[in-house]
Symmetry: C2
Subunit: 390 residues, 2 copies
Amino acid sequence: MTDRAGTFDGVHRRNLSKVLGLVHLEGPRSRARLTAATGLNRSTVATLVAELVEAGLVIEQPPDPTNRVGRPSPVVAADPSVLAIAVNPEVDAVTIAAVGLHGAIPVRERIEVDVLPTPEAIAELTAATIDRWRAGQLQGARIVGVGLAVPGLVRAADGLVRWAPHLEWSDAPLRALVEAATGLPVAVGNDASLGAHAEHLFGAGRGVDDLVYLNGGASGIGGGLIVHGRLVGGTGGYAGEFGQNRPGFAEPGDRRAGADGVLEDEVSRARLLDVVGLTHVDEPTLAAALAESDDPAAADELARQRRVLAATLANAVNALNPSLVVLGGFLATVAESDLDDLARAVEAQTLAAAFEGVEIRVAALGGDRLMIGAAEAALAPLLADPLAAR
Amino acid sequence: MTDRAGTFDGVHRRNLSKVLGLVHLEGPRSRARLTAATGLNRSTVATLVAELVEAGLVIEQPPDPTNRVGRPSPVVAADPSVLAIAVNPEVDAVTIAAVGLHGAIPVRERIEVDVLPTPEAIAELTAATIDRWRAGQLQGARIVGVGLAVPGLVRAADGLVRWAPHLEWSDAPLRALVEAATGLPVAVGNDASLGAHAEHLFGAGRGVDDLVYLNGGASGIGGGLIVHGRLVGGTGGYAGEFGQNRPGFAEPGDRRAGADGVLEDEVSRARLLDVVGLTHVDEPTLAAALAESDDPAAADELARQRRVLAATLANAVNALNPSLVVLGGFLATVAESDLDDLARAVEAQTLAAAFEGVEIRVAALGGDRLMIGAAEAALAPLLADPLAAR
DNA sequence: GGTATTTGTTGCGCTTGACCCCAAATCTGA
DNA sequence: TCAGATTTGGGGTCAAGCGCAACAAATACC
């Protein structure tokens, strides 16, 4: 057990991690503000920042012209050349992006594919794209790792994709493949879990320590939990599969559409598309079509899905007493069709006290969510121990 | 912000806490084993232990006669005179016990009451009992705090009992009342949550970092979650109220008994008592009566409750991917009526991967569970910072 | 009874963050 | 325009805590 936690070295590392984490999460900050935020001594922060500059992880900029008394404090920012590569393989396309330690996304490509991508193809595509970028847009960049957001079950221990039904992968050793192809450290995670992480750090769940995130995709419903400010993985890393839950129905009006009763069969994008007679449209188009539709069946189906969603959320709220529920993907459309109604339905099925502090919001990060989440997973080792991963 | 986390003092405190926590949780241990467990240096552990001895929290005993080569190492044990008081108010009785830092329960009393106890009565009863014990059995003891396990919703921030339906309390400032009456630091928690904590630390969930605990009481079903090795409180501290969840029914055979569909209406001790025609018996008697009954209605009701319980557990397993599910109270009776059937029913309603590592067990601590959980809550500040709370 | 092994003990040195004092940079007000 | 106030960085010093190494003690094995 090389758990150097209780030692001096451990303190130093944790402090480095804390400072780097602050500039990463909160953006550029003056040294004075870092001192205040960390509770450390000025001189300590000075040496920590110097060390991070030395390691090429942060840069110090001339002080901002702040209209305040006193000596201006230099601004510490994440070094823009430090990048992680984020990859999101989907059925019809693979999205690859470079995400900076400072949060920006300098390059992003969506590569359409004709056939279902294999894990091997993803590894090769990722490696080729990185090589191309390194020769072009990302010259001089320092790529610290690759993060992949996969629509399927990912074993946390070794980045094995146990089952990705839509990609038709099973037991694919994705992490090993991409590591071999790129020579970089690789993190693999479930897309919805990484989305939850991203919303927690930079989106609608910013600063919230206990939240439930549910995302509605074309294929089904996934989710993620933040408890005590940390993403919940569970034993194998499969936590968050709310789509497979069976919500209970409180009132006769809460009716089933199908036979099975699993959430993602009841609350589904396909049913919404059906009811307005569309196929293959993006989310805003679907939302607009639903909003403009005069067909009572459309409003009815939205209401039905809201109530089933509410039952699931109520179960989660009773069990976890979060302070926030975040809904992404088409669940945002369902929720926004009548946010008050959804909240009331959840409230009706929860203990009063448990619902008290709960807010229901839609996700904030949009299309960058998975890129940010995947990059965050790739950056995690660096942030946890800035000097070890140099 | 007096967050001394990144400082030397913080390291020292954390190390003290780690050592004290080890002898508390794992029992008496040689200094050699403590050094191995903490990863610290021999000399460091020596000074830490000396400091804890000085503070009167641990004692050093002559080495155990171990048949191994080398110099024998003195055994470090929790000081038996350090105690916490645990209190569990119920409808018909109040249980009070003194629980040692070393885990033993030197005194325990169950005080029957004729009328529903009020919060004020609990405070006075607790203070009077402590005084009596201090003059008698607990002479020379050092009582570091009081922990109360309450069958109701407890606001974590201030120990306010928001709602305890069976005691008919609402918004009772229990922590303040007991603190005023005893002059001791007081912790208040939900009984089921504290039970989950106890099972996690000393019972069926020992060493398991992710578990779901459900307890069936006379009045309803409560629960608690351990995630990342920590008890989940949620924002307000109300997490774990699985009894109010509405499980979904997967098959036509999974049928409702009542109208509402809340778990604790469907899966209830009263229904089990009904079916064997008993009232007011203890758990072993009920379990025996159910096992011996020839009435097919009894087996049927047990099977029905198992399936509803399975649906709830399946939802929890999908969402949290725990490695263990612990069932206490009459839920243990329901589960043990056919543990395999329960496990199969859960498996049928979960994702294969999420269920993979899941084990279902019954609780292990029996009647001491709530006393241990409440005492643990009272001891928490001492364990977290051994020298601050002297 | 000698040797190997394990562990407590002691003293030293290194690392690290706190503290102090001074210098620098800016605002304020006369 | 200039002095005072205010805030912050920088360098030196200090103290605290842990690791390390050498030595001593206690046990088992041969």
